[in-house]
Amino acid sequence: MKIAVCVKQVPDPEARLRVGADGAWIDEEGVAFVLNESDEYAVEEALRIAERTGGEVIAFGLGPERTREALRKVLALGASRAVLLSDPALLGGDALATGRALAAAIRQEGADLVLTGSASSDLGYAATGSVIAGELGWPHAWLVMGVELAEDRRSVRITREMEGGMNELSAVVLPAVIQVQAGINHPRYASLKGIMAAKKKEIREVAAAELGVDAGRLGRAGSRLETVSVALPVSGREVEWIAGDAAAVAAALVTKLEQEAKVLR
């Protein structure tokens, strides 16, 4: 069983962000980059399936050179090797161009199952997984809460959380692309032995030209969506204190949430 897991490196969610000079992205100076949290669940799920089936996990990452650190972390957690797509011709793309490049790299490597997180915490398109599935022509499921491999290993049974507390169970034929929901498992810590072992594991760089995809369909050149500008939300200063005992405060708050904020019905 060969499991590909796609990960992204994102700005530390606790970092204080500033808008960059071009106005279209953050100023990366002094910002720490970390493994996208939602992808950590995909990694953990991949490792668990591999441990149960004696398979191997291969990590894929597309991004600038620093993405190597995120891949090294996945190797420290237990993946056996990694593929890095850091060729400048692959960077700055939208989900379509990015997914296309990842799909091409996965096709070359071959995989029975592709796992990704539900969305990146920086851009949050939640679309790369769907694009990968579309490019590969494989079935796809999003917001998956449980993955169980069938005994014949030709399909997975997945659980998805629906509205109103319902769960949807489906059987998905492999190979397939599964985007897992955060909270599906408890991601492990990298053991210190795992960190030492990761040093010796391979991170293979794949250039844009090796992907067998027309250069005009990759990276910025292949994108149809362009981020024009980013801005920090303006913080409001309106504060209203509700006084009284706990019961009165709760009742007043419910009324406000229903009638003013309209978040309760």
């Binding site: 606790e14 650190e69 090294r72 972390k73 420290a76 810590y189 990298a190 053991s191 210190l192 032995k193 960190i195 030492m196 990761a198 040093k199």
Partner: protein, 404 residues
């Protein structure tokens, strides 16, 4: 409160390797997730959080610098970073890991027989077995060479008699590394829990390291087999080699306690509003305290990094370890006081970690070589005169006169 972001005023991280940063970040995340939520309660209840031990073993926090017996073989800077992060959680937890790694696994690895190593190292690494280190005695702390515990050779082994005090993990330990005087000088012994004549009891009433177990060990006509002896141990040098390992880790650990106090005070000062709608962080006196803390922490980081590099190169001298332990634990003690001042009344309640660190660091200040003794070790290194054991000039002079 948000998660600890680290203290890095001079791009210190750039001096670390990728794997050193990963080791630190793993331990840091583990401390945030597992230690911080329970540690104040452990401190209140005077309870060692033994539930954390199996996971600490699984993540290789014990014996991490050893490379055989399936151990990860980390460099000494990584080891120091582990100690820093654990002590940021709690000095007692760091003590647990220090003792297990530097004072139990290290001597078994350095002085033990193949049988002793194979029997104990794997279990100690996973935390399945806990160890303790018996050197200090009720009457001999700074001067361990004066110890009264003896080991007498018999036909088929040894008989131990004596007492050890201030022993971390004493009552929890499955195996005690005990130092005793023999006719050939000081030797180390592995004494197993349940050996007849070996007793242990806990020291209660501590206002410091309350999340750690501190015990007394007693040996009364305690017979141990011949293979209890650590065959390669010999002389006071052997236990001092162990202490060098542990003290090096404490030099890093002190920084962890200092960092937690500094960061708590910084966050508090930015939130706490008093005069004219200004946070107290806007006050010059508060800023001076924060500036002092971050300056001393930064200097301490550069110091221990160099010590770690010297240790990896096999060139670290004991007086350099004394400098690191003495300085950084003092920095931690001062940071705890300054942080407690900035927090005002909130500095004395365990809603914040400051008072716990302040109390803990009092132990760390005088254990593993007191602050003053380390000063004398540095003093001897620079003057050539051992002040704790000065040459008896007068006596010698008198003697030679008499001889003449």
């Amino acid at each position: 409160m948000s998660r600890f972001p680290g203290v890095d005023f001079v791009e210190f991280d750039a001096l670390l390797t990728e794997e050193q940063r990963m080791v630190r970040d793993t331990v840091r995340a583990w401390v945030e997730d597992r230690v911080k939520p329970i540690i104040e309660e452990c401190h209140r209840e005077e309870r060692t959080p033994l539930e954390l031990v199996p996971e600490m073993g699984e993540l290789n926090f014990f014996g991490s610098t050893l490379s055989d017996y399936g151990l990860p073989g980390l460099d000494n800077v990584s080891y120091g970073l582990i100690m820093q992060e654990l002590e940021r959680g709690d000095s007692g937890l760091r003590s647990f890991a220090s003792v297990q790694s530097s004072l139990v696994m290290y001597p078994i690895h350095a002085f033990g027989s193949e049988e002793q190593k194979a029997r104990w190292l794997p279990k100690l690494a996973t935390g399945e077995a806990i160890g303790c280190f018996g050197l200090t005695e009720p009457d001999f702390g700074s001067n361990p060479g004066g110890m009264r515990t003896t080991a007498r050779r018999t036909a088929d082994g040894w008989v131990l008699d004596g007492a050890k005090q201030w022993i971390t993990n004493g009552t929890l330990a499955d195996v005690a590394v005990v130092w005793a005087k023999t006719e050939d000088g000081i030797r180390g012994f592995l004494v197993e829990k349940g050996t007849p004549g070996f007793t242990s009891s806990d020291q209660h009433g501590k206002f410091s390291l309350r999340a750690s177990t501190t015990s007394e060990l007693g040996f009364h006509d305690c017979h141990v087999p011949a293979d209890a002896l650590l065959p390669q141990s010999g002389g006071l040098k052997s236990p001092l080699m162990c202490l060098n390992q542990a003290r090096y880790g404490i030099a890093w650990g002190g920084l962890g306690a200092a960092m937690e106090c500094y960061w708590t005070a910084l966050e508090y000062a930015k939130q706490r509003v008093q005069f004219m709608g200004q946070p107290i962080a806007a006050h010059q006196i508060v800023q001076e305290k924060l500036a002092w803390m971050v300056s001393e922490i930064t200097k301490g980081q550069l110091l221990v990094l160099q010590l770690g590099r010297l240790k990896d190169a096999g060139r670290l001298k004991h007086q350099q370890i004394s400098l690191g332990k003495r300085n950084n634990v003092w920095v931690a003690r001062e940071c705890a006081r300054l942080a407690r001042e900035i927090l005002g009344a909130n500095g004395i309640v365990d809603d914040y970690p400051v008072i716990r660190h302040m109390l803990n660091i009092e132990s760390v200040f005088t254990y593993e070589g007191t602050h003053d003794i380390h000063g004398l070790i540095i003093g001897e290194a620079v003057t050539g005169i051992p002040a704790y054991n000065p040459p008896r000039v007068a006596e010698k002079a008198g003697k030679s006169k008499a001889e003449a």
